[in-house]
Symmetry: C2
């Protein structure tokens, strides 16, 4: 617990309490109060400060947790939810996802992103990393409307076979387009820009190295899908002489600002390399189970890798909820190792909060409830049939909490959802428009 020394004469914007407060996701929540000034945590402790509060919200047995961080969230794919269920990977990609992506307009991308952002808020997430779509301006407008914090990205490729021609820039174009988007969006409100690389199938070594340089110059992260399927390992081995992670290591791009997404198929040496270079990995339990396979996440953590969680996109994980991802990530590793002690609740909560913050270079900004950090908070109501009784409030946040227990959500001290009502946009109108646009996209595919 941290205490500021507030001036009692100076009012706080919002006082929450008394309730259970999860200050550090690795530790059990404790009774206390949270106070907010100017969008930041001003006080957290067992007692409130004497300051006047402009707004005070009583928590009555609620739990306040740091808002979750979704490190892999394809907002442009939201209107494709259900387009590719129960089909093999090649059908998924060639017959469903690529035609969908080609049919998507910028206006569609805006609605897609808004719908996705609403689902994020409803499931307790206020920060996402989008690995890139084609219509970044549309995506950004949809995310800004709902009010969440996002790393934008443009889906970037410069080589390789089989991709829709529309998506293939040459090296200079690929970089220039991203630089242009970075100038427009990086640091605008809650938007940041990140440089992205689709996969090693479609990115030249020149693009990979130049992308890492541009990202470093801007002070942002690189997002790349890495070691997704066994075929990728063979491809990398035959074209680069090493599997993906080893090859990225030899290119010198791995590091704390290189977000390796999935890493479903990595061997022990690659795990050690990710740990040694402090390269964060975004684990997507749902989409991995559905399409890619089951990674050895427990071993990554034992090796010291920084692990974050992500939902992936709606066609590969139809439940775009970080709460479900926590549950799934925990259960999958326990089951794989046949060991109920693997990935205990504190570890999973850390992956979804501080792990995500580290993976995006925001460890001092979000992920914990500490004085000075952004007031990105979720109020959880556990007084429901599905969370009662509450013998172990810490574990319950992973084992029994569901998105229906998310009552209210703050981002930088702004209510994005209050008593289960989205405050920033007309949710029903977004859903209606999303449904009609989705039908139109499908008829164009």
């Amino acid at each position: 617990m941290n205490h500021a020394d507030p001036d009692p004469a100076s009012p706080v914007d919002l006082r929450l309490g008394p309730g259970l407060v999860l200050s550090d996701p690795r530790q059990a929540p404790t009774p206390g109060w949270v106070e907010i000034v100017g969008g930041r945590i001003h006080h957290v402790g067992p007692e409130p400060t004497p300051a006047v509060a402009i707004e005070a919200v009583s928590l009555h047995d609620r739990i306040v947790i740091p808002a979750l961080v979704n490190t892999h969230c394809h907002t442009s794919q939201q209107l494709g939810r259900g387009l590719a269920d129960d089909v093999d990977l090649l059908t998924w990609l060639h017959d469903r996802i690529w035609p969908y992506e080609i049919a998507l307009t910028e206006a569609d991308a805006e609605v897609s992103a808004a719908l996705c952002a609403i689902e994020q808020v409803r499931s307790g997430t206020t920060t996402i990393a989008d690995p890139g779509g084609r219509h970044v301006d549309g995506m950004a407008r949809g995310l800004e409307a709902v009010g969440i914090r996002a790393f934008l990205g443009r889906s970037t490729m410069d080589s390789g076979d089989g991709r829709p021609a529309l998506d293939c820039d040459d090296l200079a174009e690929a970089l220039d387009r991203q630089d242009d988007l970075a100038r427009r969006w990086h640091g605008r409100g809650r938007m940041r820009f990140s440089y992205t690389l689709r996969t090693i199938f479609n990115c030249s070594d020149e693009l990979i190295v130049a992308t890492a340089e541009r990202a470093a110059a801007l002070g942002t992260v690189v997002q790349m899908h890495v070691a997704e399927v066994p075929e990728e390992l063979s491809f990398s081995l035959s074209t680069r002489g090493a599997t993906t992670v080893r090859h990225l290591g030899s290119l010198g791009v791995l590091g704390p600002r290189f977000l390796a997404v999935h890493a479903t198929w990595v061997d022990d040496d690659e795990i050690a390399l990710l740990a040694a270079t402090r390269t964060p990995v975004s684990h997507n339990a749902g989409s991995n189970l559905k399409i890619l396979g089951v990674p050895r996440v427990a071993e990554w953590i034992e090796a010291g890798v920084v692990v974050a969680l992500g939902t992936d996109g709606a066609p590969s994980n139809n439940r775009m909820s970080m709460i479900d991802e926590m549950w799934l990530a925990s259960l999958t590793q326990k089951g794989r190792r046949v060991d109920p002690t693997v990935l205990p609740a504190g570890e999973v909560l850390a992956m979804a909060t501080t792990g995500g913050a580290k993976a995006l270079g925001l460890a001092d900004e979000i992920g914990r409830i500490e004085v000075g950090m952004a007031a990105d908070l979720v109020i959880v109501d556990p007084r429901t049939a599905n969370m009662s009784p509450l013998h172990d409030p810490h574990a319950a946040l992973v084992t029994s909490m569901k998105s229906e227990n998310v009552e209210s959500v703050l981002c930088e001290g702004q209510w994005l959802m209050r008593d289960r009502v989205i405050t920033t946009v007309d949710e029903a109108a977004v859903i209606d428009e999303a449904r009609s646009r989705a039908a139109a996209i499908r008829s164009r595919m």
Copy 2:
């Protein structure tokens, strides 16, 4: 679709429509109407009958599905949710569950069962099989109050080491106590009685054989935990000369009325034996991942085994929702086989409905929306952020539906939940009492 030929002069009790109707869980839902008379499906088809309806509910884009069947649901453990998270199996059993079960009173069991039944209704389930607690009368009262359909059972053992002495009857006592409960509860309202066997560790061959005989005489099912952990296989091999399923086969007790629960660790020959004897298996994806391991469910189905789903108890699956079980069962098998086409939505929905009905001998009563069957129905509202868009309504019932999409629930034509309000009991009062009783149990443990 089936059509009755109703008399237009005779009113129907309830007309639902127009909406999407999932008549057969293996087929996509189609637009239509459902009508109910005397607690049974009277009509289902693309148009309503001309009869007057005493009550009519417009479905506006809702989906009506058969209520789910939970074939393994320890209602007495509900107040123990969160007592045993992230601990190894022996700690789970010896230090947490047994002391909890000893501390539980009959009044506790009643509240525990009521809380569990509320969670079942909220997640679309109207039929459960309880594998047995100690206070059957209390359990039954709690379940009756909420109004769900249940197979009761008394946790039965007559031998073996390590069990709390309180739970060990001799053979005659074990059977007599169950006969007495069967007389009191079997066929009373929505209650049925089933004979239960805890595990082969604690049941003599005499008890196993006599139990199957009594169940057959009553025309009910036997429930038994089978092949849960590798240690059970070694135990059975050393004490009986064969692994559990083989030994049960040689005792002659396997068959359509013997519900084998878990079967986490069975080999190909045992799978073939379960299929050949038409022995149904209750698969519990969540509790298996958490504690027991990952069974080869896809192979069971390929071999022709009747597979049903179940939640197990709250300390071993903190989310007691059949909707989450469907999602988890599907994803776990896809991931295990690294094949997205494994266990498609229709197969999973069948496991949760018709599979459960078969496993409990109720295939002509529940599990489908057909004329003459009980009106156990769930109204799903998919017009939410998490289920939009709805490109594939059939798959969405497994891939994106959550308990928050369950709007209303009928059991035998009676509303148990209407517009998300439990109609039969005061839900908040049950939750409050459950929380205070849970705290008291914990202090007694």
